[in-house]
């Protein structure tokens, strides 16, 4: 899903020319649009990155620094206040809890879940995938089958089952969603390992007598990391969505705790009269995931253009 470099510039008639050999023709790839392209690419990277940082800062720091009302324990006297009410920037929900504050705390949950599931995924899944791709023979075959099974498994079922079984709670959600991220990373790491395995620098390392674990850690992992990291950004978006889904189904963070998912769930009941209760957390989810996707995509473009 790379946004490609400007190497597909159209000819009259609207279609691009090939790269020909030689300096003169190589210059064709860096045509007039490239200057604009570079600016656009830097912007495509910096804007989402900056926004993400802002988001993280807002969710984690603002309640500490600013005066934000508590996300729980609101008085029923204050229930269902509209947006812009004094003291409640975005109004309150049916229980009188401040929406803005719930938004921030819910954001904490989402970001924590996103980060945790991806970290677990990279660590465990990456390791498994590298081993699966690097080893040969029986171990590789077995691991491949296991990964196939996990891929065929409707992951949400697994997440649902685990969340259902363990009971609601943010930590349980992280466990449940890790069951999804680990195979995903394993598959990616395995594919990447297969591609790198036969490259010269890998062969050189093993010919030089380097023990296999060292090869995996010092040679393979650093080369896989960029791909894994961009995938992690996209995967964090998916995890956040899934956490929202689980909370929506009452399997995630239980009320009165704040999660974007359960905000949507409780808002759904009064959707026709107070759509804001649904729209606000929906937008929050959308914007956060979109930011992560844009950032992941920009990074992928940056790293593959190199």
């Amino acid at each position: 899903m790379t946004i490609p470099v400007n190497d597909a510039l159209p000819v009259p008639g609207g279609l691009p020319a090939p790269g020909g050999p030689g300096v003169a023709d190589a210059a064709a790839a860096s045509g007039a649009a490239r200057g604009r392209g570079r600016l656009r690419r830097s912007l495509a990277l910096c804007l989402p990155a900056g926004f993400l940082i802002l988001l993280i800062a807002a969710c984690f720091l603002w309640p500490l620094v600013g005066s934000v009302p508590s996300p729980v324990g609101g008085s029923v006297l204050d229930s269902s206040l509209p947006i812009g009410s004094p003291g409640h920037l975005l109004g309150t929900d049916a229980d009188g809890n401040d929406i803005f504050s719930r938004l921030l705390y819910g954001g904490r949950v989402s970001l924590e879940v996103g980060a945790a599931t991806q970290l677990i995924g990279i660590a465990l899944g990456g390791l498994i995938g590298m081993i699966a791709g690097f080893s040969r023979g029986l171990l590789a075959a077995v691991l491949m089958r296991v990964l196939d099974v996990l891929i065929a498994f409707p992951s949400l079922v697994l997440a649902l089952a685990i969340a259902e079984g363990l009971g609601p709670g943010e930590l349980h959600v992280i466990w449940a969603l890790s069951f999804y991220s680990v195979p995903a990373f394993a598959r990616l790491a395995r594919a990447g390992t297969l591609k790198l395995r036969d490259q010269n620098f890998m062969l050189a390392a093993s010919l030089g007598g380097t023990p296999r674990w060292r090869i995996v850690l010092l040679h393979l992992a650093p080369n896989l990391l960029p791909q894994l990291l961009t995938f992690a950004l996209l995967g964090a978006g998916v995890a956040i969505i899934q956490e929202g889904a689980l909370s929506f189904l009452s399997l995630g963070v239980p009320p009165p705790g704040a999660s974007w998912g359960n905000m949507i769930a409780s808002g759904e009941q009064t959707m026709s009269v107070q759509p804001a209760l649904v729209i606000i957390p929906c937008l929050a989810l959308l914007i956060t995931v979109a930011t992560l996707n844009l950032l992941g995509d920009a990074l992928r473009a940056r790293w593959s253009a190199r």
């Binding site: 000819v11 020909g20 003169a24 210059a27 064709a28 649009a33």
Partner: protein, 336 residues
């Protein structure tokens, strides 16, 4: 003899990041009907860019100026629709890597048939007949069967024949062969070149041959143009050029060709240095001085200051040099 293609002052400029690259600079030559002109140069000399400029195959960022007149029609600056009518019909091109130049998921026959039907309103069946006929022309065995086969089922030489068949489908007056035999092994190369010259004699077609292979040029070209750093530096009928080399560059190129009659382990003479960087500040004219000066054993101050222009002598031999060679002859190891 009327020229099929008349190129005058053809220039191609790119503007990466605010700089300007003179990929091709004021190139002029002409190709007569039934004649073969070879454009020789190393990578980066602009030879490919110039041929693509004629066909309009350069990216939008390329600024093409000058003139390329094909059968009386000016191609440079021609609108897209007009250009499309001439492509494949009056001028056709075959490329270096036939493996990648054919659509891998489409049968070979229909690829030729669509080339024909793009220019002539004939039925599918008729196009198919014509395609099979073209296969025969390029000496592909079992042409009916070949029609329904896929490119990967052909060998390199056969694929190039298919490309030639495709190029000839509308009987163009000019065929541009851009490094057409570079990717082939020597034997196949010879076969393809023989096929091309045979077809040329049969069809009266002009051929513009782009190559870095001097031996090939010597064997098959009527006229040769040597390019360096985007400019034509020597231009002459083949026999005259190789019999009477003027440019130190050309001479050095010829000297670098491995020869069977040299003693074993003789170091191969190389041309020191590298081709010049063609990028320059915006708005600047092409750099002063001879582009080859830095690498030329005969260069002096004048060469660095003043750019020599292409000047033609009585033998029809044009060269751009302040200190041309006195006309040494080189024997080329010809066609392998």
């Amino acid at each position: 003899m009327t020229a099929v293609l008349e190129v005058r002052e053809l220039s191609v400029r790119y503007r990466p990041r605010g700089r300007v690259v003179h990929a091709v600079d004021s190139l002029s030559y002409s190709v007569g009907a039934g004649r073969t002109v070879a454009i020789i140069g190393e990578s980066g000399s602009g030879k490919t860019a110039s041929s693509r400029a004629i066909m309009g195959l350069l990216p939008r960022s390329a600024q093409v100026s000058g003139s390329a007149v094909l059968n009386g029609i000016e191609l440079i600056g021609l609108g897209a629709r007009e250009l499309r009518r001439h492509r494949g019909h009056d001028v056709a091109m075959i490329f270096q890597d036939p493996a990648r130049s054919l659509n891998p998921t489409m049968r070979v026959g229909p690829q030729i048939a669509e080339a024909i039907r793009a220019h002539r309103p004939i039925s599918r069946a008729a196009a198919r007949e014509r395609a099979i006929e073209l296969f025969r022309l390029v000496r592909l065995s079992a042409p009916e069967q070949r029609y329904s086969e896929y490119p990967h089922q052909f060998s390199g030489g056969m694929r190039q024949r298919v490309m030639i068949a495709m190029a000839l489908s509308c009987s163009p007056r000019l065929l541009i062969a851009d490094e057409a035999t570079t990717a082939l092994d020597v034997t196949t190369q010879a076969q393809i070149m023989r096929l091309l010259t045979g077809l040329q004699a049969q069809l009266g077609m002009a051929i513009l041959m782009i190559s870095h292979d001097l031996g090939l040029a010597a064997s098959f070209a009527d006229d040769v143009v040597v390019m360096y750093a985007g400019r034509a530096v020597e231009r002459a009928p083949a026999r005259e050029l190789f019999g009477n080399v003027r440019m130190p560059y050309t001479s050095a190129l010829l000297g670098a060709v491995p020869r069977l009659d040299r003693a074993a382990h003789t170091p191969l003479p190389v041309i020191g240095g590298r081709p010049p960087v063609l990028s320059a500040p915006p708005g600047s004219a092409p750099s002063a001085g001879c582009p080859f000066a830095a690498r030329c054993p005969r260069a002096d101050d004048r060469c660095e200051r003043e750019r020599p222009e292409l000047a033609e002598d009585e033998a029809g031999h044009a060269y751009a040099c302040w200190h041309p060679l006195a006309g040494s002859s080189h024997e080329i190891s010809g066609e392998a």
